[in-house]
């Protein structure tokens, strides 16, 4: 295989400071362990992209001071409530927020996937989002009259990262029905993936596994991290650790609480060694 199987830290080293880093939200295989490794490494100035919204790992990166800007359609901890470090950073003015709406982010990634400079999207025209997105453009539909329509520019993340269930020996990775990750990998310049495990047989040789597989073509490097999505759920592999997420939500309300969380669950030798 041309993909490298790396240690988690070496995979994290592949995310340069200042990168436009695309991350899926908490229902779509976020790379939680990789993000903790990024925090340990002390990455700085990340420009995060929520695909199409953002969850706990985004809040963690913001709290740890790794983030310059967030482009997303929402930042939230889901059932656990608002994203406290995100909210605090916005109030402090320490990060830039670039608001979007879910289908617009999908569309911008699809334009990059197709290699076209833009793609249209219906709706959105009555929203104040438009006034804050100088990169979005309204044109008259050339196929009709009096029909303004939004054009969105292609968006190609520098790095996409997610936690897949498994990879095969050829570097193909399996994400089940979370096919937005395939679009993301197609659109991104580089894709880094953590997986629970590596299997020997080619995923592409199995008609039942192939449809949920992202071909190795799109994958730059892989690290094996068991429970790499924890505390987030991973398809039918394991459920969310709701108690832990609630604890995070509680601690992260204050700077001190967030520091304590980092010390216990990100920086502590035992936490790092587990990954």
């Amino acid at each position: 295989m041309t993909q490298s199987v790396l240690s988690l830290d070496d995979l994290a080293a592949g995310v340069p400071d200042g990168a436009l880093l695309a991350l899926p939200p908490d229902n779509s295989l976020p790379p939680s362990a990789l993000v903790r490794a990024l925090v340990r490494r002390g990455v700085r100035g990340l420009r995060l992209l929520g695909v199409p919204v953002s969850g706990m790992v985004t809040d963690l990166l913001i709290g740890a001071g790794c983030v310059a800007s967030v482009q997303s359609s929402a930042v939230s901890l889901g059932e656990a409530g608002t994203a406290p470090r995100f909210t605090a950073a916005l109030a402090a003015g320490s990060i830039e927020m670039i608001d979007a709406t879910c289908p617009a982010i999908h569309t911008m990634l699809q334009a990059a996937e197709k290699g076209v400079p833009f793609m249209p999207l219906r709706g959105v025209l009555g929203s104040d989002l438009l006034a804050h997105r100088p990169d979005w453009r309204v044109i008259d539909n050339p196929f009709d009259h009096d029909d303004p329509i939004l054009l969105l520019p292609a968006l190609s993340p520098d790095v996409a990262a997610f936690h897949a269930v498994l990879a095969d020996a050829h570097g193909n990775v399996w994400v089940g029905r979370r096919r937005e990750l395939a679009t993301l990998a197609h659109a991104a310049k580089r894709t880094l993936v953590t997986v629970e495990r590596i299997v020997a047989d080619s995923l592409l040789d199995d008609e039942r596994m192939a449809p949920g597989t992202i071909a190795a073509t799109y994958i730059e490097a892989i690290a094996v991290v068991e429970h790499g999505a924890w505390p987030i759920a991973l398809l039918d592999e394991y459920e969310a650790d709701s108690a832990h997420i609630a604890e995070y939500a509680r601690l992260a309300r204050s700077d001190a609480g967030f520091r304590a969380y980092l010390d216990s669950h990100v920086f502590a030798r035992s936490a790092a060694a587990a990954e």
């Binding site: 229902n27 779509s28 695909v51 199409p52 919204v53 997303s72 359609s73 929402a74 930042v75 939230s76 889901g78 059932e79 608002t82 994203a83 995100f86 909210t87 916005l90 109030a91 003015g93 927020m97 608001d99 979007a100 709406t101 879910c102 289908p103 617009a104 999908h106 699809q110 999207l121 219906r122 709706g123 959105v124 025209l125 009555g126 929203s127 104040d128 989002l129 804050h132 029905r177 979370r178 096919r179 937005e180 990750l181 395939a182 679009t183 759920a233 039918d236």
Partner: protein
């Protein structure tokens, strides 16, 4: 099944689910053959399941259903479905909702919500205009939420109705008070609503859930909801 101390007591959640179910089935509105429901919307989800268990042939797409999630094209499929005209009805909420039907999920104060930040617009800017019917739903009914003019418009559209913890508003270019939930009055609604709306001289009381509706909610609807909304089920219908 239902904790004894709750038996017979109709919870606000049950009442709201029944209100929403009746709006879904409103014979004056275009038929809702396919309804999509977002993650943080257990009451709208309960309303949809109630409509289903009442025997209506409606397709439900629960966005965050973990098993049996109907979306196999990834998370853009909901929006593509809506773009195709295959979603008839969607529910939206808002950190702020104004009298023109605008919703604000961005925040208050200077853009992008420097005073109070809300989570963000999600798909609302698209869904509100593309899906034929939208029901606005927000349990909190206060001047903080129902404002004369939202600070920022996440999405603009023409909702079928706005359902709150106090009342039902119908919408046709502006809101009209349609029914008051038990315990509310024209005055209590007026005092807690920041936007102007029509109020007929006589405002009916929101009908209570029927015995059949309650049985369905507490039986088959609860069973369907358990996987996706365990916390909600526990809170409304007790343990086990």
């Amino acid at each position: 099944m239902i904790a004894p101390e709750k038996r017979g007591i109709i919870t606000p959640e049950e009442r709201l689910a029944c209100v929403l179910a009746r709006l879904i089935l409103d014979p004056a509105a275009p038929p809702a053959r396919h309804i999509a429901v977002g993650a943080a919307s257990p009451i709208p989800a309960a309303a949809c399941w109630l409509v289903r268990t009442l025997g209506h042939d409606v397709r439900l797409s629960l966005l965050h259903k973990r098993t049996g999630n109907p979306f196999t094209e990834g998370s853009r499929e909901l929006f593509d479905l809506a773009g195709q005209g295959r979603i008839d009805l969607f529910f939206l909420g808002g950190g702020q909702i104004d009298g023109a039907g605008n919703i604000n999920l961005i925040g208050t104060g200077e853009w992008p919500g420097r005073t109070t930040r809300f989570p963000g617009s999600f798909g609302s800017a698209f869904m509100y205009t593309v899906v034929p019917r939208t029901i606005l739903f927000r349990e909190e009914h206060s001047r903080r939420v129902l404002v004369p003019r939202v600070d920022h418009v996440s999405a603009a559209g023409s909702p079928q109705a706005l359902v709150t913890g106090r009342c039902v508003f119908r919408f046709a270019s502006r809101f009209t008070l349609a029914s008051l939930h038990p315990g509310e009055s024209a005055t209590s609604v007026r005092d807690n609503t920041g936007f102007a709306y029509e109020s007929p001289p006589e405002v009916p009381t929101t009908p209570e859930p029927s015995e059949q509706e309650l049985q369905l909610l507490r039986g088959p609807v609860r069973v369907e909801m358990l996987e996706t909304y365990p916390g909600f089920c526990r809170r409304v219908w007790g343990e086990n």
